[in-house]
Symmetry: C2
Subunit: 197 residues, 2 copies
DNA sequence: AGCCTATTTTAATGGCTATTAAAATACGCT
DNA sequence: AGCGTATTTTAATAGCCATTAAAATAGGCT
């Protein structure tokens, strides 16, 4: 039939809700600790209904990670495109990433169960993840070179900052007030230590 | 019989190894994603043999968390007992915590699956965890009052710093070189931003 | 009303895994 | 060698859960 846009739109919308419900569950109880029944309950459905929207449980995790990765990339690109010294660009990225993580498009899944993906999915996500780290390290290096960031172990500095961000989905529960505090405080804390004396 | 110390010592030693193996598995694949067979394989045993040392799988997670919590408390106490301004005490704590996390007594389990514990275990661990946060916030507050730390949202600042630490078990794999870098870099990055201008 | 499709449910199936009990093995000690 | 305990394995049980196919429902369109 002529599957009019209205139908597909409803489908896509519900698919989104499904991913959000899954992210919520995964963040709370982990991937394997979450049953499809858990996810379905969030939407008032039966577990089997999920297969109308998703091939299998792994796909659910994979697409959650895709969403998370895309948010990171959007923020990173914004930082890279910003004109200014390295420290400023890092701040633009970081702030935007936090806004996304804690904003209306959430919740996002904590990226802690990459081993649960299958070969190809894992490779793809790991790729994005490593790219993200490298791009951030590039911003830091730039900052060191342009004198806005003090000399430091760039790899470890990146690890320290990224870890703080990665952990957020574990405790942030969508409170708007808290979201503002995160966006206001995290960049200051995480980047303040890098400033040149 | 006269269960001589030698026997109990061997038992305790193997129990420790078991906890370390479990922590390794849990960090990689999550609590539910880890089968007792996985853990047993690390020790060259069968899954059923684990029950000689542990009541059940949950107990394994619980005792992993106890170890992690104790390491944090040891470090926190060291910081609190140190004489100096708030920022210095926070640095002592943080450095020691990192040394422990990345040192010979590891690996420690990432504390991300508290919901998998049963009622009492969960309450106990949550209690310790919250105490830990409050004690750290107290150090920060002290720093603000004695002028070593700039005015900031203490709760969120604590969240930012703790998140970075909490995430470490997810990527640190026991490399000694890396451990040194972590201990050298993390305190500078995570506390540098708090210094008064 | 009645058709056609979209959506959801019901009802299997099979595999994995925690847990237990009983049997087997290893090992120190006499 | 042989007893007695410590440790580990084998084998069985039972429950949960992902996945599938077929049946049921709902809603738009004519």
């Amino acid at each position: 039939m002529n599957r009019p846009a209205s139908a597909t739109q409803a489908y896509d919308k519900k698919r989104e809700q499904l991913l959000r419900a899954a992210a919520t569950c995964f963040n709370e109880k982990g991937y394997s600790g979450t049953s499809l029944k858990d996810v379905a309950r969030h939407l008032g459905l039966t577990d089997a209904a999920i297969y109308y929207y998703m091939n299998n449980k792994r796909q659910l995790l994979f697409e959650c990670y895709l969403r998370a990765v895309q948010a990171g990339e959007e923020a990173m690109t914004l930082g890279e495109d910003h004109s200014g010294v390295g420290l400023e660009r890092a701040r633009v990225y970081l702030t935007r990433h936090l806004e996304l993580l804690c904003g209306e498009s959430g919740p996002f899944a904590i990226m802690s169960e990459i081993p649960a993906l299958d070969q190809e999915q894992r490779a793809l996500i790991l790729n994005h993840s490593r790219q993200h780290s490298r791009r951030f390290e590039a911003l830091l290096l730039q900052g060191v070179k342009d004198g806005s960031i003090k000399d430091c172990d760039i790899r470890m500095t990146g690890n320290a900052i990224m870890g703080s961000i990665n952990w957020i989905p574990k405790w942030f529960r969508g409170d708007a007030q808290q979201a503002r505090q995160i966006v206001a405080t995290f960049p200051a804390v995480l980047l303040g230590g890098l400033q040149c004396a």
